[in-house]
């Protein structure tokens, strides 16, 4: 029983990271119809920012997260406004190619600046945890889960309660009609991508505290974000939260099967994605469009 509870907790904690990685990816996909293959590289940019601020300024890594968010928002806004907007109405393949190329550029810029060494962020409390009987909850992961939930709630607030969110929902629903009510598409697209990048940056900051990062460490996260968004369903922040936590749980239980390891866990998670696509293509909480 204790093992089971421990697995559920570990799964949810891991899921927190997937939620953080997934929300920005889901936003960009749902609103702009861009499967952003550069998402993982933006995550790692956030990771390096946190690492840099932690090592040079000795800031608490959680306090660097707002810096990650703002820096990545600005970067994402500029990227969309200057580059991706040019092909926004092109077929999906073009956005694949472009974001794939952007991913390569960002990864190689990181290699140039930071080298390929592993970097990790280890505040004084890393490795410590909350002990409840035989169950241990690592502090860093516990706070990360809280941050991921807060990040999702903030994004949902922006989307559902602000004028900016109204515009983002409108361009997601009908671009031409959005233009006709006076929404500046170039700006609204860029804000959307900027918000997605900001979420990626925060996710990267969390990841840098949990694992050692290298410039290429982001690639699995693009794939995982894809699975998480499909699991939960496109178009709603809450769906991505459910998808991320579900992904974490499945992974944790997959790893616990005797004789299986982390490789097997991935296979199980992706099998689940295929199962969801076959039986419930709109995702667990999604709606058919």
């Amino acid at each position: 029983m204790a093992d089971f509870v421990q697995l559920v907790i570990l799964g949810l904690l891991a899921g927190g990271v997937y939620v953080a990685v997934g929300v920005g990816f889901g936003l960009v996909w749902g609103v702009l119809n861009i499967v952003n293959l550069a998402h993982g590289s933006l995550v790692i940019v956030g990771g390096y920012l946190t690492w840099q601020l932690f090592t040079t300024l000795h800031l608490d890594p959680f306090l660097t997260l707002p810096v990650d968010a703002v820096a990545l928002f600005v970067f994402g806004y500029a990227l969309q406004r200057g580059v991706i907007n040019r092909i926004i109405r092109a077929p999906l393949l073009f956005t694949f190619l472009l974001t794939f190329g952007l991913n390569l550029i960002v990864v190689n810029m990181l290699l140039l600046i930071f080298g390929s060494d592993f970097r990790s962020v280890t505040p004084s409390y890393s490795g410590q945890g909350l002990e409840l009987g035989s169950i241990v909850i690592p502090y860093v992961r516990l706070i990360s889960l809280g941050v991921a939930i807060a990040l999702s709630a903030s994004l949902a607030f922006v989307l559902n309660r602000t004028r900016t969110g109204l515009a983002i929902n409108a361009i997601a629903a009908d671009r031409d009609a959005a233009q006709l009510v006076g929404i500046d598409l170039r700006h609204a697209y860029a804000v959307t991508y900027g918000l997605g990048a900001a979420c990626a940056g925060v996710a990267g900051g969390l990841i840098a505290m949990i694992q050692a990062i290298t410039p290429t460490a982001g690639e699995p996260y693009t794939l995982q974000a894809f699975v998480v968004v499909i699991l939960g369903g496109l178009g709603r922040v809450s769906a991505t939260v459910v998808g991320g936590l579900a992904f974490g749980l499945v992974e944790a239980f997959g790893q616990s099967i005797p004789g299986s390891g982390s490789v097997f866990a991935n296979a199980i998670a992706f099998s689940l994605m295929v199962l969801v696509l076959v039986t419930r293509p709109q995702g667990l909480l999604g709606r058919l469009r």
């Binding site: 004028r163 109204l166 515009a167 929902n169 409108a170 629903a173 009908d174 031409d176 009609a177 959005a178 233009q179 006709l180 009510v181 006076g182 929404i183 500046d184 709606r287 469009r289």
Partner: protein
């Protein structure tokens, strides 16, 4: 046609040409809309009516010619700038934000406005369309065709336009519903908003309008007071089946 005492036209189009990759659609359109006029724009399928509205609202680029709004050149200005200057376009097929509530659709009509009278205008829209009063929280996509057209027109009104352009108001709607919508459109016009009514149902538009333009293969084939256009032998033969 225009005498010296008449005011500057609200909208003045001269020699407008436009098209798409597949080829040109509009060939030198001249058109004028006086303030608070109700103008019908009629013609067969493919005559260029919707393209013309698209150019006027900034969705389709003009290849040549000039568009003036209240005397100022607005040719090829961006859509949001034209909305700000008082042009609202209710597109063909309503194009509502289907997964959003009726209320949010209406509020989005006022997206560029920062004044405090947005709620008053919402009340005004609901006075014109009482059927929408208890449907504000409903998803716009779940409404009937007639109600969706009400939301689309209401969304256009929420921008407080000087010129409201409605594309295919009658399309797919029962005659009774069309009569009601036309009645509301005339009220809106009487309250001081100039209107361009684009219609395939020529009779509906000509009966409602003061002036009419007949578009044929991307050119203005005929224009004049709506009554005269309605009695033109060519129009009666080609569009009214008389």
């Amino acid at each position: 046609m225009q005498n010296a005492s008449s005011p500057e036209p609200l909208l003045k189009v001269r020699g407008l040409t436009a098209g798409f990759d597949a080829g040109p659609v509009l060939f030198g359109i001249d058109l004028e809309v006086e303030p608070a006029a109700l103008v019908a724009l009629v013609g067969a399928n493919g005559a260029g009516k919707s393209t013309l509205l698209g150019v006027l609202s900034g969705l389709v680029p003009a290849a040549g010619g000039k568009i003036s709004l209240a005397g100022a050149d607005v040719t090829n200005e961006r859509a949001e700038s034209l909305v700000r200057k008082g042009v609202a376009h209710v597109p063909q097929g309503r194009r509502l934000f289907g997964t959003m509530s009726v209320e949010k659709n209406l509020l989005l009509g006022a997206y560029l406005r920062r004044d405090r009278e947005i709620r008053d205008d919402m009340t005004r829209v609901l006075d014109h369309f009482p059927a929408l009063k208890d449907k504000l929280p409903r998803e716009a996509g779940t409404l009937s065709g007639g109600e969706q057209q009400m939301v689309a027109i209401g969304r256009g009104m929420m921008a407080r336009p000087k010129l409201l352009m409605i594309d295919e108001l009658s399309l797919g709607l029962a005659p009774k519903v069309v009569d009601h919508l036309i009645e509301v459109v005339r009220e809106i016009n009487r309250e001081g908003t100039a209107l361009i009514l684009v219609e395939q149902d020529v009779l509906v538009a000509l009966d409602a309008a003061d002036r009419a333009y007949v578009l044929q293969n991307g050119k203005v084939a005929l224009s004049g007071p709506a009554g005269e256009v309605k009695n033109d032998p060519g129009v009666r033969k080609a569009y009214l089946g008389l």
